[in-house]
C-alpha cells in the first residue's frame, strides 16, 4: 500500500484562541476507504478543509506524496490531486449535470477532444444516464445530484476522494448505492477515499475508522 496523504502534528485555530484541531496525526493509503467520525462541532469539516487544501495548515504538516501542502499550489492540488464531494453537492445550478462534469475537466486543464464522452462515462459509472446528464441540476433529485457531484470529483482522475457527509441528505436506499460507489472507487480503482460522516452505515462500510472528539483523534 502506498501512503498518499499524511497529517503530522496538525493544529488548527480560526481565531488564534481556541484550537479546533489539536495534534492530529493521520496517514492515508491508496486503495482504502477511510471514515472520520465524530459528533457535530468535533472539527470533522475543518479536517476535511485542511486535507482538501481549502484551508491552510498553520501548525504541523499535511503531506501529499511527501510534499508539504502549504508549499504547494493548492488550486492546482484541488483540481488535479483531490476530488471533493460536499454534503450539499455544490454544483452549479445553471449548468446541466454533464456541463458540471466538463467544467471540472476544463479547470483541471484536460485537453481531450472527447471530453463529453468521457464525462458521460463518469456519469454513467455513478448511475446517471445520458438523458439525466443533459438536464439542469435543479431538475435532479438529491441522490442524483450527489452522484453528479461524485462524477465531477472523478472527472480528472484524482488520487484522493474527500467526501463530507455524502449521504447526510439521502434516503437509506440511495445511501447504500452511494456507499457502494465509494467502496468500488477505493477497492477497484485504487483511490484513497476519505469519508467524513457520523452515519453508522458508513462506519460499517469503511476499512479504517478514525474518531474525532473536541478536535482530537481519540480512537483509531
Amino acid at each position: 500500500m502506498i501512503n498518499i496523504l499524511k497529517l503530522k502534528n496538525v493544529n488548527f485555530t480560526y481565531d488564534n484562541e481556541r484550537y479546533v484541531l489539536e495534534n492530529i496525526n493521520l496517514e492515508f493509503d491508496q486503495g482504502k476507504l477511510y471514515g472520520v467520525f465524530g459528533p457535530s462541532g468535533a472539527g470533522k469539516s475543518t479536517l476535511l478543509s485542511l486535507m482538501a487544501g481549502l484551508e491552510k495548515c498553520k501548525e504541523g504538516e499535511i503531506l501529499y506524496k511527501d510534499k508539504n501542502l502549504s508549499k504547494m499550489n493548492r488550486d492546482y492540488y484541488r483540481c488535479h490531486n483531490v476530488g471533493i464531494i460536499f454534503q450539499s453537492y455544490n454544483l452549479l445550478p445553471y449548468l446541466t449535470a454533464l456541463e458540471n462534469v466538463i467544467l471540472s475537466m476544463d479547470i483541471s486543464g484536460i485537453k481531450d477532444k472527447n471530453k463529453e464522452d468521457k464525462a458521460l462515462k463518469f456519469l454513467k459509472k455513478v448511475g446517471i444516464d445520458e438523458d439525466k446528464a443533459k438536464r439542469r441540476i435543479l431538475t435532479l433529485s438529491g441522490g442524483e445530484q450527489q452522484r453528479v457531484s461524485i462524477a465531477r470529483a472523478l472527472a480528472y482522475n484524482p488520487d484522493i476522494i474527500l467526501a463530507d457527509e455524502p449521504t447526510g441528505n439521502l434516503d437509506k436506499e440511495t445511501e447504500a448505492a452511494i456507499l457502494n460507489i465509494f467502496t468500488s472507487l477505493a477497492h477497484k480503482d485504487k483511490k484513497c477515499v476519505i469519508i467524513i460522516s457520523h452515519s453508522n452505515k458508513v462506519k460499517e462500510k469503511v476499512d479504517v475508522v478514525s474518531y474525532l472528539k473536541k478536535g482530537k483523534i481519540e480512537i483509531i
Binding site: D75, Q87, N90
Partner: protein, 480 residues
C-alpha cells in the same frame, strides 16, 4: 478557452442584468463619442485657425512696474524704442514678418481739420478743446504734450495698414503711397479733401504744434473714404483722433519731421511669428537682445480666438461632460458589478473549491464585462457618430444665440445699435465661427475604446477585489 465559454454562458444566463450593464456602457460610449468628437474637432479648428492667423506680437509699456520702480528710485527711466531696435528684434528666426508705424501730429493754417464737436453741436457746458493747439492762438495746456489737429502716420510696410486691410478705408481718388516712396507724399480722407476743396496733386503745408516755425510741405497723391467715424473719434475734442483727420505719409517724410522734433512721435511695432508656439522663445530672444523689462511683450491670441469663443466653450464643455459621464458611468457600473459579484458569491465559492485559480476567475469576470463592453462600444460608437454632427450644430447654435442675446442686451442698454465697442469687430456676433465639422478618425475610435476599457478596468477591479477577499471554504460554509 473554457473561460471564454464560461463568460459567454454567464452573459446569456444573466441577460437582464447584462443588458442593463450594456445599456450603461452604450450610453457612456455614445456620449463620450459625441464629447470626444466635439473636443477633438474643436481643438483642431482652433489650432488651424490660430496657425492660419499668425500670432501678432507687440510691445506695450508696463507703467505699473515702471511707477513702482520710479517711486523707489526717481532716476528710473525707460529707453525709448527706436526703429533700429525694431529691426533688430524683427531679425529673428521666429518672425515671419514685421512692420512698424511712426506717428506724430501736425497742425495747419491753410486747411481746417474736421471738428466733430461742430457737427454734433456740443452743449455750452462742454469743455473746450483744451488739448488741441490752435494755430490762431488757442490756449495751450502745458500739462499735456502739444497735440496737432492732424495725425500723421507712416507704415514701414503700407500693406499692413489695418483700416485698408479690413476695408474701413478705401482709396477713391489718386493712388496709395508706396513703400518705395521717398517723397513727402500723403493720402488724406475724402471728408477732409471736400471740407478744404483739396484734390489729388494739391500741396498743403503743415507745421509742428510745438514750434509753428517748423513747416512741412506735402503733396496729396491719393484720397480715401473712411467708414470709421464713430462718435468716440472726437474723444475729448481732440481733432487728431478723428479718423477723418488721419493723414498717411511715407517713412521718409515722417523721419524728416521727427529729426526736428521727436517728442511727439510714437513708434509701434507688430511682429508676426512663424509659429504661434514660438511666442515664449521670441520673448526670451528680444529680452536677450535688450528689450527693457518695462515693456510687456503681448500677443493677440485672445483676439484671434475671440471668434472661436463658442467653439472653445463647447470644446471645454465637452471635456467636462466627458469627465462627468465617465465618473457617473464608472460609479453606476461599479455598484452594479458589486451587486453582481455578491449575487454570484456561491458560484465563485464552487469554482474556487474545485480548483479554479483567482486569476482565472477574475479573468472570466472581466472578460464577461469586456464582451458586453465591446458590443456596447460598437453600437455606442455608431450611435455617437450619427449624433455627433447634429448635436454639435445644436449646441453651437445655442451657444452663438446666447452670445448674440448677451450682445443685444448690451446694445439695448445703450438704446440700440451703433454702440458696439471699438476694436471689437472681430468679436462681433456675425464673425463667430458657426460651423464645426466633426471629424471622426482612428484616434477618436481608439480614445473611445480606451474609455470603454477604462470602465471595464474600474468596475472589473471591484470583481478582482471581491474574489481576492472571498475564501471558498467560508462562502460554502456560510451558504450551507
Amino acid at each position: 478557452m473554457y473561460i471564454l465559454k464560461n463568460a459567454w454562458t454567464n452573459i446569456k444566463r444573466n441577460l437582464g442584468r447584462n443588458v442593463l450593464i450594456g445599456i450603461i456602457i452604450l450610453v457612456v460610449t455614445a456620449s463620450s463619442c459625441i464629447a470626444i468628437s466635439i473636443n477633438t474637432s474643436g481643438n483642431k479648428l482652433i489650432d488651424s485657425y490660430v496657425n492660419k492667423n499668425q500670432l501678432e506680437v507687440s510691445f506695450n509699456l508696463d507703467m505699473k512696474n515702471f511707477r513702482q520702480d520710479k517711486n523707489s528710485n526717481s532716476d528710473t527711466t525707460i529707453d525709448k524704442l527706436t526703429v533700429e531696435d525694431i529691426n533688430k528684434y524683427g531679425d529673428s528666426n521666429y518672425v515671419s514678418s514685421y512692420y512698424y508705424t511712426l506717428e506724430t501730429s501736425l497742425s495747419s493754417g491753410d486747411i481746417e481739420a474736421i471738428d466733430m464737436s461742430e457737427i454734433f453741436k456740443k452743449s455750452d457746458e462742454a469743455p473746450d478743446d483744451n488739448y488741441g493747439n490752435k494755430p490762431d492762438g488757442g490756449e495751450e495746456n502745458h500739462s499735456r504734450p502739444s497735440q496737432g489737429d492732424f495725425k500723421i502716420t507712416a507704415y514701414s510696410d503700407i500693406s499692413y495698414n489695418e483700416s485698408f486691410v479690413e476695408g474701413t478705408s478705401k482709396i477713391v481718388d489718386g493712388s496709395m503711397i508706396t513703400n518705395e516712396d521717398k517723397e513727402n507724399n500723403i493720402i488724406i480722407s475724402e471728408d477732409l479733401a471736400e471740407e478744404n476743396d483739396l484734390e489729388v496733386g494739391d500741396t498743403i503745408t503743415l507745421y509742428s504744434p510745438s514750434d509753428t516755425s517748423q513747416t512741412y510741405e506735402f503733396k496729396i497723391v491719393g484720397i480715401f473714404e473712411t467708414e470709421s467715424n464713430s462718435s468716440d473719434d472726437n474723444f475729448m475734442n481732440m481733432s487728431a483722433l478723428n479718423s477723418q483727420n488721419q493723414i498717411y505719409t511715407t517713412v521718409t517724410a515722417i523721419n524728416k519731421i521727427l529729426e526736428n522734433d521727436d517728442n511727439t512721435n510714437s513708434l509701434n511695432a507688430r511682429f508676426y511669428l512663424q509659429n504661434s508656439d514660438d511666442f515664449d522663445k521670441f520673448e526670451k530672444e528680444v529680452r536677450e537682445k535688450g528689450l527693457s523689462d518695462y515693456y510687456q511683450v503681448s500677443n493677440n491670441i485672445d483676439q484671434i480666438t475671440a471668434t472661436l469663443k463658442p467653439i472653445q466653450n463647447i470644446s471645454n464643455f465637452s471635456l467636462t461632460f466627458l469627465i462627468i459621464i465617465l465618473i457617473v458611468g464608472a460609479i453606476i457600473l461599479t455598484v452594479i458589478n458589486m451587486l453582481n459579484i455578491r449575487d454570484r458569491k456561491y458560484e465563485i465559492g464552487v469554482l474556487r473549491s474545485i480548483g479554479m485559480s483567482k486569476i482565472k476567475l477574475i479573468t472570466q469576470l472581466i472578460l464577461e464585462l469586456f464582451i458586453i463592453a465591446v458590443i456596447s462600444f460598437i453600437i455606442g460608437t455608431a450611435i455617437g457618430y450619427g449624433l455627433s454632427q447634429p448635436a454639435t450644430d445644436k449646441i453651437l447654435e445655442q451657444e452663438i444665440n446666447s452670445y448674440q442675446e448677451e450682445q443685444m442686451k448690451t446694445e439695448n442698454n445703450f438704446g440700440g445699435k451703433g454702440f458696439d465697442r471699438p476694436n471689437r469687430g472681430i468679436m462681433a456676433s456675425s464673425n463667430y465661427i458657426d460651423d464645426l465639422k466633426i471629424s471622426f478618425n482612428g484616434i477618436t475610435i481608439l480614445e473611445l475604446f480606451g474609455v470603454s476599457i477604462l470602465l471595464v478596468i474600474v468596475s472589473g477591479s471591484v470583481s478582482a477585489l471581491f474574489v481576492t477577499k472571498y475564501e471558498p471554504n467560508k462562502i460554502l460554509q456560510n451558504r450551507n
